[in-house]
């Protein structure tokens, strides 16, 4: 088999997985051309990724919730409420961020587990249970901000989470050294893990892709990482938000693809009855997935509050729907059992690209909503069509 036909068959087999990457590249190229390169500028890309952060972490959790055939509508106002609580902790109670952040994340887990209790233990449909949660936490947010209105946060450490960048160490030709090093480390780590996986497979005597294709793949992905690093290093380097996003993705990607827990989550989503009969504790998995969702909602609240440097009375409005949209654009299926964490991030970035690109072009907000809706519909249609082809 020559390289071309092999590459073609790989793309054909994985069209569902590659589809959204291709879509992302197409969208980015389109905006770059339409804005004469303004879109792909270091500053814009950096802002775009930062603005995607608080939705991206929600989308990761939401993907798992949808994978197990549920939904969580409460996350938006949970994020808003916990963001406000964090602000109160720091401004009124004088807690440091080292206490505030873990406590807020813990609150998130507890709220998520309570949703899990309603859904797994009492058997209340997730839509209704979390709709109730949405109303309750909207009320709670208004309640805690009632006296003060918007709470301004003066804690520089905390505000850096949403606005700051990792230290640069020194500038090399106007590029930030530490960010460059992070990029180089990422490439090395990527190449190392790919090679060790391939070696491992070969020791088992399994088929692997030919060395030509393998090299091309390594080169391509490394180039993409290098390019992103180069763009970002030219502005302020990696922001803390990006670092947090990356950490969430890496950890959740590992959990979902390489652990028994991850496998059990997909088993429950594929067929809950079969999962139960296979000895998997479906209730426990439901608790874990909603608990993780709660924690990520808390994280989202922290990111958003920090980005605004204040807690507002309307924080969290429609976050849940943006997260659900990002998850669906990222390829999750409402029938359960299908959806990747990496997809959720790409979905969130696609949506952020659309907003950013259209803002640069000066597209009216009315059209922006319509176009984003259209993209969401297109993503789901693509998903349905490719699934039908496989079945």
């Amino acid at each position: 088999m020559n390289l071309f036909t092999e590459a073609k068959s790989i793309v054909k087999l994985n069209i569902r997985d590659y589809g959204m990457y291709i879509a992302l590249i197409v969208i980015m190229l389109t905006f770059t051309i339409m804005t004469d390169g303004l879109f792909i500028s270091s500053r814009n890309i950096s802002n775009l990724l930062d603005s995607a952060g608080y939705i991206a972490v929600l989308a990761v959790g939401m993907t798992l919730v949808i994978v197990i055939r549920h939904i969580d509508l409460s996350v938006g106002f949970v994020a808003g409420f916990l963001g406000a609580v964090a602000a109160i902790f720091m401004t009124q109670l004088g807690f440091s961020i080292w206490i505030t952040i873990p406590v807020i994340l813990l609150f998130g887990i507890l709220i998520g587990c309570f949703n899990g209790f309603l859904i797994a233990q009492l058997g209340i449909p997730a839509f209704v249970a979390t709709l109730a949660g949405m109303l309750i936490f909207r009320g709670a947010l208004l309640n805690v901000t009632e006296d003060t209105g918007t709470i301004i946060i003066n804690n520089d450490q905390f505000n850096a989470i949403g606005n700051g960048f990792i230290p640069s160490l020194m500038l090399v030709n106007g590029l930030h050294l530490l960010s460059l090093l992070v990029g180089v480390a990422a490439i090395i780590l990527y190449i190392y893990s790919e090679i060790s996986t391939r070696k491992n497979k070969m020791t088992y005597g399994f088929d692997v892709m030919s060395s030509g294709i393998f090299l091309i793949k390594l080169l391509l992905v490394s180039l993409i990482i290098a390019y992103i690093t180069w763009i970002l290093a030219g502005y302020n380097g990696f922001s803390w938000t990006m670092v947090i996003m990356l950490l969430v993705v890496v950890i959740y990607h590992f959990l979902t693809t390489k652990t028994v827990l991850g496998r059990n989550i997909y088993a429950v989503g594929s067929n809950p009855e079969a999962a139960h009969l296979s000895g998997i504790n479906v209730k426990k998995i439901t608790y874990i997935v909603f608990g993780s969702m709660g924690m990520l909602a808390a994280l989202s609240g922290l990111l958003f509050t920090s980005r605004l440097q204040s807690a507002t009375t309307t924080a969290g409005t429609l976050f849940e729907l943006d997260a659900i949209a990002a998850a669906y654009v990222g390829g999750v299926s409402s029938a359960g059992g299908v959806g990747r964490v990496t997809g959720a991030i790409i979905g969130a970035v696609v949506m952020a690209c659309l907003s950013s690109g259209m803002n640069l072009l000066g597209t009216g907000i009315s059209y922006q909503y319509m176009i984003r809706g259209g993209v969401l519909a297109a993503a789901v249609i693509f998903d349905v069509m490719t699934r039908r082809q496989r079945a």
Partner: protein, 506 residues
């Protein structure tokens, strides 16, 4: 010249990998009761699905002539309009609606744009009289027994002016009394000129009611028997149904080594809180090492419920009595506890609650025993591929690759995946619920062979099956269940089909 209401000529229907029907011809005369007979998987249901338009015109070869006209049914409604009514084994009624609403569901009597409920009730009462069902039309379906629900189904079909009524194993879930009533009703309908096709496994019924009987085997028409010529007798039917010596299907197991008791139930009961009744009643049962214990009984006799109550009780029945596994009293809180104790349960409904249809073969095989492919919660994906490959080879699972999605495999291969998944847990006691339902003869033989190998390795098997041949061909001992209770225990030597049937219909 015969006056046929229905002629199905040279019907061939293929599924990916399986030829379900090959060149089947089937003719029904006006005003006769025609029984369709054959083992599970012979193609009876497929043939009826072709007839009723479930498989639309064009997905099969051959033609259907109904009342002298070639028909092209694209959907079920087309065949209903032509006057064909089909009543499936699983009744298609709305349990929370009333009898009259059910009878006219999808066929509402209207006055202008609105439903005329008064006329509906009047007509429903008339239909109920026709089927001799003595309930008020306002009764809810869920408050009726299965036998009466069956009659409501027939009333529903009659309300659509049916000319040909098809019943798929109508008496499978009925007691003797209800069965007789139903058969009497069919005879009465016949006298009113309604033709009837009945699929049945119960030969006694066939003999008592059929004017003609067509036997299908492995997707082919074997013969059509005529009652007037005295051809419809048990021996002739059985001979045509099996077409080979019964012993041939079941591999021999020369050296039986039956050991100590591995599983024991004492006065075991299970109460289903949702149904509000006992699904297993005071059961005493024993399984020994190296033994295949058959559990026979009709549909709904509580066999699956019994198995589930042993296997970690996933349906949350209220349990009473004692369960001993390897001499130890057990009280499983979850299916995972039962798996740990060395019990495996291969479900009867592999698509519904057995397999992860959207996942591939290797993921399914490892699903119940993640420990076998992981260390401290971290998966070894290569080990998983190895395990999958091993089972694919040893169980002879036919698939293009391990990455093939299980939903696309044939029934037999799906069943092997399901079996592989449970063998990977390393069980000592294997519960097989209808292990060969809906799979072809070749795959059946393979599964029987695997069962014998497992027994040789010292496993014990509890086999739940509705197929008498299978029960008698494979088991060492047989328990017969009916209405949630064990009605009798039979040693294989003293067992005949009749003794099982008698106990099962008690």
């Amino acid at each position: 010249m015969n006056d046929y209401i229905l002629e199905m000529n040279n019907i061939t229907k293929e599924f990916p990998g399986v030829k379900a029907l090959s060149d089947v011809s089937f003719k029904v005369e006006k005003g006769e009761i025609h029984c369709l007979i054959g083992e599970n998987g012979a193609g009876k249901s497929t043939l009826m699905k072709v007839l009723s338009g479930v498989y639309p015109y064009g997905t099969y070869k051959g033609d259907i002539v109904f009342e002298g006209e070639v028909q092209q049914f694209n959907e079920i409604n087309d065949s209903v309009r032509a006057g064909i009514g089909i009543i499936y084994q699983e009744l298609a009624l709305f349990p929370d609606l009333t009898v009259y609403e059910n009878i006219f569901a999808g066929n509402e009597i209207k006055k202008g744009p609105f439903v005329d409920w008064n006329e509906t009730v009047v007509q429903a009462t008339r239909m109920l009289k026709k089927v001799k069902l003595n309930v008020t039309p306002e009764t809810l379906i869920k408050d009726l027994g299965v036998g009466k629900q069956q009659l409501v189904e027939i009333a529903k079909a009659l309300s659509k002016d049916v000319k040909l009524l098809i019943l798929d194993e109508p008496t499978a879930a009925l007691n003797e009394n209800d069965s007789e009533n139903l058969l009497d009703l069919l005879k009465e309908l016949k006298s009113q000129g309604i033709s009837c096709i009945m699929i049945s496994h119960k030969l006694k019924e066939v003999i008592s009611i059929a004017d003609k009987a067509t036997v299908l085997r492995d997707g082919k028409t074997i013969c059509t028997l005529d009652a007037q010529k005295g051809e419809i007798t048990e021996s002739i039917i059985i001979k045509n149904m099996v077409g080979r010596e019964i012993e041939d299907i079941y591999p021999k197991r020369p050296d039986k080594k039956i050991g100590e008791t591995v599983l024991k139930l004492t006065d075991w009961s299970a109460y289903d809180t949702q149904l509000g009744r006992k699904v297993a009643k005071n059961i005493n049962l024993e399984v020994k090492k190296g033994e295949i214990v058959g559990i026979a009984g009709l549909m709904g006799s509580g066999r699956t419920e019994l198995a589930l109550s042993i296997f970690g009780n996933p349906k949350n029945y209220k349990l009473a009595g004692e369960l001993e596994v390897h001499g130890e009293k057990k009280n499983f809180k979850h299916t995972s506890d039962a798996i740990k104790a060395g019990i495996a349960y291969v479900t009867e409904d592999r698509k519904g609650d057995g397999l992860f249809l959207i996942q591939d073969i290797k993921i399914n095989v490892s699903a119940a025993h993640m420990k076998g492919i992981s260390k401290k919660g971290i998966l070894n994906l290569n080990e998983e591929v190895k395990v999958g490959t091993d089972y694919k080879k040893s169980l002879n699972i036919k698939a293009s690759s391990l990455e093939q999605v299980v939903g696309k495999l044939s029934g037999g291969n799906q069943q092997k995946v399901s079996l592989g998944k449970w063998l990977f847990t390393g069980p000592r006691i294997l519960i097989l619920d209808e292990p060969t339902r809906g799979i072809d003869v070749g795959a059946k033989f393979e599964i029987y062979t695997i069962m014998n190998e497992l027994i040789k390795e010292g496993l014990s098997i509890i086999m739940i099956s509705s197929e008498l041949g299978e029960i008698m061909g494979m088991s060492d001992r047989i328990y017969v269940m009916a209405e949630g209770a064990v009605k009798g225990e039979l040693a294989i030597e003293e067992t005949t089909q009749e003794t099982i049937m008698e106990l099962a219909t008690q």
